[in-house]
Symmetry: C2
Subunit: 282 residues, 2 copies
């Protein structure tokens, strides 16, 4: 861990030495954005999508990046060479930076960190997750900010309920989990996922594309807690986990995920797409 | 600046060396609380109140402080001796700390920083502030978290409007400014300030006490934008500014603040109370 190299202050330095100064708006005012991608077999997965979202987040939050997309790709490539980790994650963090008055943005602080990551299994984890819904709407939901105040705060609450993660809802309309997008499969085998008040996940985009390409009907629309009660299957999708079946949301228990489930089919499609991508990049 | 001493990692170190590591939940997940107090003539003003609120914030956010109130007072006293700043601010920051999984709280990180601060003038600044209302409700409003995402983000928006600060409102009911509490004076000379969905400001508490002690009627209740239109005066209160008259909220323009204004009377009461406090502490 301590020998890992990261990119900070425009230099490649030891990760153990990387830090944000106390005057950084990221520290004092929680002002920052990031993106997070998985590296499989030394291939950064869907990095064009992640970098596009990163630059979008930065623009929305009025944080000049100071580098081009190609510069960041170049830095990531150098990190891959230096750290020689087969399976890893890349976190690209842009914090508000040092501010003389502690309030105005002057020059943001870019830090890129690579760390080892255990890749998800080739097979879906059929056991699945228990989700507990909680009334909350992320501020700036379309931006990947560093604001996980509610998510961290709810950890003991989730543990008490034996839940694996929280599903945010507002007035009975669900949006997302803190680190993944939420989907249901209706009795008519439609794939439905919220279309607004969410972060546009990169894996979410892959799932929707693969579903359409395989003849499934996809709907991006509001999902109510009642819709969940009527659904046949539910799952979440994220870069680190691909797809995880949802076995329960509050009191609603789903039938166990099997080889015949739509969720399993989507997992397999996603897994094969990823294999192809890695083969192409290698 | 660079010679200032702060308290970090359980030690007194140079402020320029103090930083939060990349793995800190304060950096990665915006998870942290703080408190901020003014030091006048080497006397930390209302530090019992500030420390009480700090420990309350920590408890609400499930962050063990690891020190007692008296320990923190002792550290602040040592900083005052080391830095020898006549007028300054003390920021007590408690971030989520290093988390092995980047999500669970293990050991929070306490940093106490003293920096020079220009004290407010002995006289009220009659010019006052222009406020622009914006629909937002802080998450965990009763806790002094480091979440100022919306406040920082709105800076260019405020500049465009020629406004000095934002007044948060939700469905026409106002709550607070990002760093100060909001008050109106009604035509009947009642002092009214929101009682819920706000941070309980230490200066707010002083203002209400002094108003009551001087025979004024005080109401803590919801304030609508319509109430503001009907009000005679408006002002904000904070530790760094004491009281600043509000000359405008959106389209509503108030009569200029004068020596006869209730706002000026409250400023003077607050100023004298502060002088007494400093004299008592010295």
């Amino acid at each position: 861990m301590s020998k890992l190299i990261c990119f900070a202050n425009n230099n490649f330095i030891s990760l153990s030495e990387a830090a944000l100064p106390m005057g950084d708006l990221g520290v004092q005012r929680g002002y920052g954005i990031f993106d997070f991608l998985r590296v499989s077999n030394n291939s950064p997965l869907y990095w064009d999508d992640h970098l596009e979202r990163f630059f979008h987040s930065a623009k929305e939050m009025r944080l000049p990046v100071g580098l081009l997309k190609e510069d960041i790709k170049n830095i990531i490539s150098q990190l891959l060479q230096k750290n020689k980790l087969l399976h890893s994650s890349i976190r690209i963090l842009l914090s508000g930076g040092i501010s003389p008055d502690g309030y105005q943005i002057v020059t943001p602080n870019l830090v890129i960190v690579q760390q080892p990551l255990i890749p998800p299994s080739d097979q879906i984890n059929e056991k699945g997750y228990i989700l507990a819904s909680y009334p909350h709407q992320r501020q700036m939901p379309h931006v990947k900010t560093t604001d996980y105040l509610m998510a961290i705060w709810l950890q003991p609450w989730l543990k008490e309920r034996g839940a694996d993660d929280v599903l945010y809802q507002q007035n009975g309309i669900v949006s997302e989990c803190p680190r993944s997008n939420f989907f249901i499969v209706t009795k008519e085998n439609k794939i439905v996922t919220p279309g607004r008040n969410i972060l546009q996940g990169i894996t979410r985009k892959q799932v929707l594309r693969l579903a359409v390409a395989n003849g499934m009907i996809v709907e991006e629309r509001d999902i109510s807690l009642e819709d969940i009660r009527l659904a046949k299957e539910a799952f979440i999708a994220s870069s680190t986990k691909r797809i995880v079946p949802v076995m329960q949301v509050d009191d609603k228990v789903f039938a166990p995920c099997t080889k015949e489930s739509v969720t399993t089919l989507l997992y397999d499609l996603l897994f094969h797409k990823e294999k192809e991508t890695v083969a192409f990049l290698s």
